[in-house]
């Protein structure tokens, strides 16, 4: 019998290795997917308890302005999450709006104005800003920003405004570096064509470069918002943690994440107080999903235009 023929017809060591390797690597990937499913499963299960076993209405939870889970009123605990929801959105939007001009300006420096020196100096600056841990931002906020605001506006200094300044610095590098990516993906021809038509550099940037990079910049902004919305400790350290509807930018307020970080350890599992916190976590999770969805939609619309 032909030995070579036989070898070709029997399962080789390589085939066995291949099958094993494929199974091993697929298991790893499957494990990660399982974790994602588990996160959603666990937090949804816990988070829905407030509505299923504690009989709080979802509408009241989302629109109620009083957060005092240990007190009951009309047979249902006082768990109005609107103060935290409003706080989270307010801080996120303010910080992002503040960061956008800085991010786009810095990105333009790196792509169009002084690409060489700009990148050489600003790239490491951004990397360092990203690398600074959030507790360090929180600590600096606590020892620098809060006293500064206290001096200027009076009061305690804790509040939405302090949180805004801290988050502004934290989302700035995220938005900037993604904006750089989208600006540099605008073809060079567009720029040279516009300049050749006699447009100034600013006209080229404003009318050509920024226009064609818009989907990418929007994605960058949404990413920044997602980071701001989910940031916990840095915000918690400077926001004041008062579960009241925000009525002033310089008065203590709270966000979803700040209430979660302070509350989970101080409540007992299975109680209404604890369940309500898990519902906040669920909102956080769903918002993170919403930001992802927004990014996908922007990417799809951007792709359709081309």
């Amino acid at each position: 019998m032909d030995k070579i023929r036989e070898s070709i017809l029997t399962t080789s060591r390589a085939s066995k290795l291949e099958r094993r390797g494929k199974i091993i690597s697929l298991t790893c990937l499957g494990g990660i997917c399982l974790v994602v499913v588990a996160i959603f499963g666990f937090i949804a299960y816990r988070g829905l308890m407030t509505f299923t076993s504690d009989h709080v209405s979802i509408i009241k939870f989302l629109t109620g302005t009083e957060w005092n889970p240990s007190v009951s009123k009309n047979g249902a605990p006082l768990v109005g999450a609107l103060p935290m929801i409003a706080g989270s959105f307010l801080i996120t939007i303010l910080a992002t709006v503040l960061a956008i001009p800085f991010a786009i300006g810095t990105a333009l420096m790196m792509t169009d104005i002084t690409p060489k020196t700009g990148t050489r100096i600003l790239q490491p600056v951004l990397e360092l800003l990203v690398g600074i841990p959030s507790v360090v931002y929180g600590f600096i906020g606590l020892t620098v920003v809060v006293p500064a605001i206290r001096t200027v506006f009076g009061g305690s200094g804790f509040g939405i405004l302090s949180g805004t300044f801290v988050l502004f610095v934290m989302v700035l590098p995220t938005i900037t570096s993604m904006t750089v990516d989208s600006l540099s993906s605008v073809p060079k021809d567009y720029r040279s064509a516009s300049l050749a038509l006699g447009a100034t550099r600013w006209q080229t940037i404003y009318k050509v470069v920024l226009r064609s990079a818009t989907p990418g910049i929007l994605t960058a902004i949404v990413f920044g918002m997602a980071r701001a919305f989910g940031e916990a400790l840095a915000v918690q350290m400077v926001v004041g943690n008062a579960t009241l509807m925000p009525y002033s930018l310089v008065a203590p307020a709270s966000t979803l994440t700040s209430v979660l970080t302070t509350g989970i350890g101080n409540t007992v599992m299975g109680t209404v107080q604890n369940d309500a916190l898990w519902s906040l976590a669920l909102i956080l999770l769903l918002m993170s999903l919403a930001f992802n969805l927004a990014i996908h939609l922007i990417a799809r619309r951007g792709a359709m235009k081309r």
Partner: protein, 263 residues
């Protein structure tokens, strides 16, 4: 001159056939890259595949040892030692040990010259140190590289020149002592001197190996090959003895192609 649409040489029974395709069709999605190619590859000869860019010759070559698995959809039969290679029962890894391939761009592994050759040998169960050493030396000699690298076998293969790296890739393939060697434009990235060295190497190799080579370089096909197949738009339109084909092409398109009117 009398011309035909197609001419395929049929071998007599005294010529041993190493590989034969029957009704081979290759699709990339809906696009048919090869339509019904029938070709016999004679043993211990050099067969050149020529044709214009996009004629399907490289696709055809890559399908012979199933390098197109997962990339293209290959239908039809590839006969080797009375086995149809294009079937599920074939162990592709064991098969590729017998039907090796060398590519257009030299692709030595980022390892030492010695390890570049022993790597595959070890994977195929040859682990005896002495035997490995012998195989390395034989392969490098056959690939005409031994004299240039024998003092730096432990140096990185990435430091070799393009021509040396390509001959290392050939050495790496023949160290496995395969039946058939498939070469996909092996000289297209090389300078003329390296190309000449490579051609000489190939001519010496056909004593032990069946060689199929895809080339864009017609003089090269004429210089080194025994048989030539001309691919045009996904089919073999002429297959003949190389001398005959280059002196008296039987198909008009071949005549145009080799005289430079086309492609």
């Amino acid at each position: 001159m009398e011309t035909k649409d197609r001419y395929i040489l049929q071998f007599n029974s005294d010529q041993e056939i190493a590989l034969e395709t029957k009704q081979l069709k290759i699709f990339y999605g809906d696009y048919e890259a090869i339509s019904a190619a029938d070709l016999q590859i004679p043993r211990f000869k050099i067969t050149a595949l020529i044709g214009a860019s996009g004629s399907g010759k490289s696709t055809f070559l890559r399908s012979l040892n199933r390098m197109n698995d997962g990339i293209a959809n290959v239908q039809g039969q590839i006969w080797y030692r009375d086995l149809d290679l294009n079937t599920k029962q074939i162990d592709v890894y064991a098969m590729r040990r017998q039907i090796g391939m060398v590519f257009q761009r030299p692709n030595p592994f980022p390892k030492s010259i010695y390890e570049n050759i022993t790597f595959a040998l070890e994977r195929h169960g040859i682990t005896d140190k002495k035997q490995l050493k012998e195989r390395v030396e034989t392969a490098l000699k056959q690939a005409a590289l031994w004299d240039e690298v024998k003092d730096k076998l432990n140096k990185s293969a990435l430091a070799l020149s393009g021509g040396q790296a390509q001959r290392l890739c050939i050495a790496r393939a023949i160290a496995l002592q395969p039946d058939i060697l498939l070469l996909d434009e092996p000289a297209s990235a090389l300078d003329p001197i390296s190309t000449a060295q490579l051609e000489e190497t190939l001519i010496n190799l056909k004593e032990h190996y069946t060689i199929v080579i895809v080339t864009h370089n017609l003089p090269q096909a004429a210089r080194i090959s025994d048989y030539t197949a001309h691919f045009s738009q996904g089919t073999v339109i002429e297959f003949n003895d190389t001398k005959d084909m280059f002196t008296q092409p039987k198909v008009a398109l071949t005549n145009e192609y080799i005289s430079g009117d086309f492609g």
